[in-house]
């Protein structure tokens, strides 16, 4: 079965529907599926729920989908870098479900692994626990969190082969594998599609079974906080 598509519009063809739940990889602006986000903007699909650790910045990443008001609800752990997000949230246009970062990652992983719920000690005794089942194991309290089963996953990797095996680069891996796993369909954008057999099978980070469609493209890879140190004097 052919998994490689020529561009993001084609790769998303037939997969988008108003009101759907999309899981997106990335941390801040690192390892985000830039090209697929742009194509979703272009498609005009709306009332989206997006599970993503962050919500991009104004005018870049998921921020573009906020500018066009295509997102109805975000499931995130930290959204501080986006003024338009805050404006929509405070005015009630946008729904926000805060998830502790590790809980969000595990909810995606669990969904992808067929686990509808799990108990965690993260958030016990806080606002996050409100309305959630509390259960005691060996004298310690845990809360029930649900697995996320997304309609669509959009992720970014470094390299892929044509069967969808993925390799990520450095900290751009982040939420991409769990986000990929939890979708009914997963579309991956990569910097390079390499010939079958050229990736070492021992070095594949995410097997192609989780990846249904692939595109190759150019990425801006914007840096959010450029920090450097001075070279020592020779």
């Amino acid at each position: 079965m052919k998994k490689v598509y020529s561009n993001a519009d084609e790769a998303l063809d037939g997969l988008l529907k108003d009101g759907m739940l999309i899981a997106a990889g990335g941390f801040g602006l690192c390892g985000i599926p830039e090209l697929l986000i742009d194509a979703i903007v272009k498609s005009g699909v709306k009332d989206l729920t997006v599970a993503s650790n962050n919500a991009g910045v104004d005018g870049f990443g998921l921020g573009k989908l906020l500018d066009t008001k295509q997102i109805r609800k975000m499931m995130s752990s930290y959204v501080g870098e986006n003024a338009e997000f805050m404006r929509q949230y405070l005015s009630g246009e946008l729904e926000l479900e805060f998830n502790p970062q590790g809980t969000l990652a595990e909810r995606m992983r669990a969904g992808g692994a067929g686990i509808p719920g799990f108990y965690t000690k993260t958030g016990v005794g806080t606002q996050i626990a409100e309305g959630k089942e509390v259960k005691s194991f060996d004298g310690e309290e845990y809360i029930l969190e649900r697995g996320i089963f997304a309609d669509l996953s959009i992720v970014k990797a470094w390299k892929a082969d044509d069967t969808g095996n993925l390799v990520f680069r450095k900290t751009a891996r982040n939420f991409n594998p769990p986000a990929a796993m939890c979708g009914r369909v997963c579309v991956a954008e990569v910097e390079e599609i390499v010939p079958r057999g050229s990736l070492d099978p021992d070095h594949i980070h995410l097997p192609g079974i989780y990846v249904h469609r692939i595109i190759q493209g150019e990425h801006e890879k914007r840096i959010e906080q450029r920090t450097t140190r001075k070279r020592e004097e020779a």
Partner: protein, 208 residues
């Protein structure tokens, strides 16, 4: 007299032992890395890295290599990368020996508040709730009082909690206190600060 930011970080670095895997929060906790000396410490960045190195030289920034504060960083010879689910698996699973982080309020029972102020812009808890619930030891580094001079070490937190009964040790500009049965216990005082000064600046119950 009291400790400044760097002295607080230097004191916090004494909490770290050879061989520890540690997560440092944003602000003063980040400075702790400058004072670990010869100790073999591996820093975790919860976006998916063990063995976090210093900032890159100008021109060597890599957009694929950032820390949890989204700053460009570098890798070390020991570095490993992994996804967010595994990263928080090692946090929740107690593999990270200690987290050093800032706080808005700490209560005498170890409750910690550092993620939101009702009525103000809420950015989110990020990984803070997972860290304080999961790591072996939670060490808070913060100013003893707020800008109005009021104690940040309270009988009860007034702000929404990040974690319940999670703090082990508090390092402030005035000294070091442990969370023990019945309240806080003074471990040491900062240079030029007396126990009486510290008690006077603290709302929480001090025992012993």
């Amino acid at each position: 007299m009291a400790w400044d930011r760097n002295q607080m970080a230097e004191r916090a670095a004494q909490e770290l032992e050879d061989g520890m895997y540690v997560n440092l929060g944003i602000g003063i906790p980040t400075l702790v890395a400058n004072y670990v000396g010869d100790k073999d410490i591996t820093l975790q960045s919860e976006n998916g890295m063990l063995g976090m190195g210093p900032f890159p030289y100008e021109g060597e920034e890599d957009p694929d290599l950032i820390n949890a504060g989204k700053q460009t960083i570098t890798e070390l010879a020991r570095t490993s990368y992994f996804d967010s689910a595994m990263s928080f698996g090692m946090i929740r699973g107690g593999k990270i020996a200690a987290a050093i982080l800032g706080a808005m309020e700490v209560a005498e029972n170890g409750d910690l508040a550092n993620w939101m102020i009702p009525g103000k812009l809420v950015k989110g808890m990020g990984g803070a709730m997972d860290l304080v619930a999961g790591v072996g030891r939670v060490i808070v580094v913060m100013d003893h009082t707020n800008k109005a001079g009021e104690s940040k070490l309270l009988k009860q937190c007034t702000l929404p909690l990040t974690g319940k009964g999670v703090v082990n040790r508090i390092i402030t500009n005035l000294g070091v206190l442990d969370v023990v049965e019945g309240g806080l216990k003074i471990v040491e005082t900062a240079d030029g600060v007396t126990e009486d000064d510290l008690r006077a600046a603290t709302e929480a119950t001090i025992v012993g």
